[in-house]
């Protein structure tokens, strides 16, 4: 069975933790951003949205963006990191907004 939204969020949080670990040695702003993302994700983790299928596409995007950034970190490819962090911030913000489920109707 494919991963659920919650499983993807758990993986994203874990990836972000690995990403944040020691990132400040390169750029403190990056680490602060990723730590903030982790905090926000932990706040919304377990909520109704992540039990629903509509959580899958947006969570997967954040999960992949986090994985891409971690890959760069592990490869010491710092040139691409600013863009990767920006992309991760954007997809994380989108995910947190979607988790609010404004205007949702379940029938």
């Amino acid at each position: 069975m494919p991963q659920s939204g919650q499983e993807m969020l758990d993986e994203t949080i874990s990836t972000c933790k690995s990403l944040a670990d020691g990132l400040g040695t390169q750029n403190q702003d990056w680490e602060n951003s990723v730590v903030e993302i982790i905090e926000k994700f932990e706040e919304v983790s377990g909520t109704f949205f992540f039990k629903t299928m509509p959580s899958v596409p947006v969570t997967r995007t954040a999960m992949r963006d986090a994985a891409s950034a971690l890959e760069l970190k592990e490869a010491n490819d710092w040139g691409e990191m600013p863009t990767a962090v920006e992309t991760l911030i954007a997809s994380s913000q989108n995910l947190i907004e979607k988790a609010g489920m404004k205007g949702t109707t379940l029938t």
Binding site: P2, T47, F48, T52, M53, V56, L106, T107
Partner: protein
């Protein structure tokens, strides 16, 4: 139950006899549904008239075409839908006056249908006929909308699509939910059920209520429930009388996202099984040999027509199906959707379930992870409502003559020759008989060219200009 037969035509159309409305009648006859209708029979055509601002529901044309066919057979058709549960605080079909207004806005009226459009379960949805279903998998009785139960024959004219609770919205759901009265819907939705009802299985989290002062729209927390079961007390605490919950679904979209209610996915699974039971109840109310099914698998949106919007279809039009077996016809549609490539940009692609062979409704339509697109189908098979094993018979188009404009069947000269002479629409008396003031020759290549495609465009433009032709 032995194999059933499903009659089918694909969705391609290039002529009078392959118009989708024509194909619908061709499969209707091929499946023997014409034999269900006897002279003077009152025939209910059950449709989904669409929620306010939904735009994927079936065009009224199909119901009209079917009503006309039933009249040809000597029957007296009416087209109907039923009041909904109050599944959204702002639903548009919860009472008879609301559904009639919505239906009319969506094009369903006696003027368009050539027969009455009625709300089959009365003003508030309590007009029904109770049927025992001892064979039921979970339900043991069904509350069938009175006008449907009273009909001599019933054709379920279904828009086949996805559904957030049913996963698929097909023939089984058109009758298993759509032909139930409002209280019948509470029954199917597990209202008051000791295991699967929201009152029993839902987990209420009043601790997540932040108080009126921190909840600007706090009133909706009370107002989402028509049974008045939510209350913010004098201590600024949210209370819920879950024992009385009817599972109208009105609070789902309000409480769930705010973390105030944990809605159990098993409740949806139970509803999906109950849908087949309730469909059997409808067949028993009308007569098991007096119900026919047409599935129009067009505009296969991920969400049901009960949503107040319609998303990009997840697969291309699949075709037109007819059968006497609601289980087989839904299975055939699910199989066709599975075989199809998903549509680019649709929810199927967003869920990465757009490949041939993917279970697209489970990915793109279901609310919860783990819901199945065949729960209702398998339940229907289990209880003897129908068979998931079927033979699919592809029909040939009927003659074009049958589907031409019926009010005047003469060709053009006979119809318009004298009138055109009297009220000449072409001014033969002007511009040497050419009729209108126009240039004799223009450069059409210039306006056919895709200017954004290539740099050669300028050269063409320049050469035309050099020739002095523009």
């Amino acid at each position: 139950m032995s194999d059933s037969t499903v009659y089918y035509m694909d969705a391609h159309s290039e002529s009078t006899e392959t118009a989708l409305a024509a194909k619908m009648i061709t499969v209707f006859d091929a499946a023997g549904l014409d034999e269900i209708v006897k002279p003077n029979d009152i025939v209910a055509i059950k449709v989904h008239c669409g929620e306010w601002n939904n735009s994927a529901y079936l065009r009224p044309l199909y119901a009209r075409q079917l009503a006309d066919r039933i009249k040809e057979l000597g029957g007296r058709p009416f087209v109907c839908d039923t009041t909904t549960s109050s599944y959204s605080p702002w639903g548009s079909r919860t009472s008879e006056i609301d559904i009639l207004l919505t239906a009319e806005r969506n094009g369903y009226s006696s003027a368009t249908l050539g027969c009455p459009f009625i709300c089959a379960d009365g003003f508030i949805g309590t007009s029904d006929f109770v049927v025992d279903i001892p064979e039921g998998y979970i339900l043991k009785e069904a509350y069938v909308a009175q006008a449907i139960a009273a009909a001599d024959a019933l054709i379920a004219l279904t828009h086949f699509k996805g559904h957030s609770m049913g996963v698929i919205g097909g023939a089984l759901k058109n009758l298993g939910i759509g032909a139930q009265s409002k209280r019948g819907k509470f029954n199917v939705h597990m209202g008051g059920h000791p295991t699967y009802g929201l009152g029993a299985a839902g987990v209420f989290h009043p601790e997540n209520f932040k108080g009126k002062a921190n909840t600007p729209d706090w009133e909706i927390l009370e107002d989402c429930c028509p049974f008045n079961l939510y209350n913010i007390n004098e201590n600024d605490e949210l209370e819920w009388d879950g024992d009385k919950c009817a599972n109208c679904l009105g609070c789902f979209g309000v409480m769930g996202p705010r973390g105030l209610m944990d809605i159990p996915p098993v409740q949806f699974d139970a509803v999906d099984a109950a849908i087949a039971d309730a469909c059997l109840g409808v067949e028993k109310a009308v007569g098991r040999d007096k119900v026919g099914y047409i599935n129009m698998a067009l505009d296969v949106s991920p969400r049901c027509d009960c949503a107040n919007h319609a998303d990009v279809p997840i697969v291309p039009h699949l075709g037109v199906f007819a059968s006497k077996d609601p289980v087989a016809i839904d299975m055939a549609c699910v199989d066709k959707a599975r075989e199809a490539e998903g549509i680019k940009g649709s929810a199927a692609e967003m869920m990465e379930a757009h490949h041939a062979g993917d279970k697209k409704f489970e990915a793109a339509a279901a609310t919860f992870h783990g819901q199945s697109e065949v729960t209702s189908i398998n339940t229907g098979h289990e209880i003897g409502l129908g068979s998931r094993d079927y033979e699919l018979i592809e029909c040939e188009p009927d003659s074009p003559e049958r589907f031409r404009f019926p009010y005047d069947t003469r060709p053009s000269r006979q119809r318009f020759g004298e009138r055109f002479e009297k009220f000449q629409p072409f001014p033969y008396d002007k511009y040497d008989g050419k009729g209108f003031n126009r240039l004799d020759v223009v450069d059409l290549d210039k306006v056919k060219h895709h200017y954004e495609d290539s740099p050669e465009v300028t050269e063409i433009g320049e050469s035309v200009h050099a020739d002095g032709d523009d």
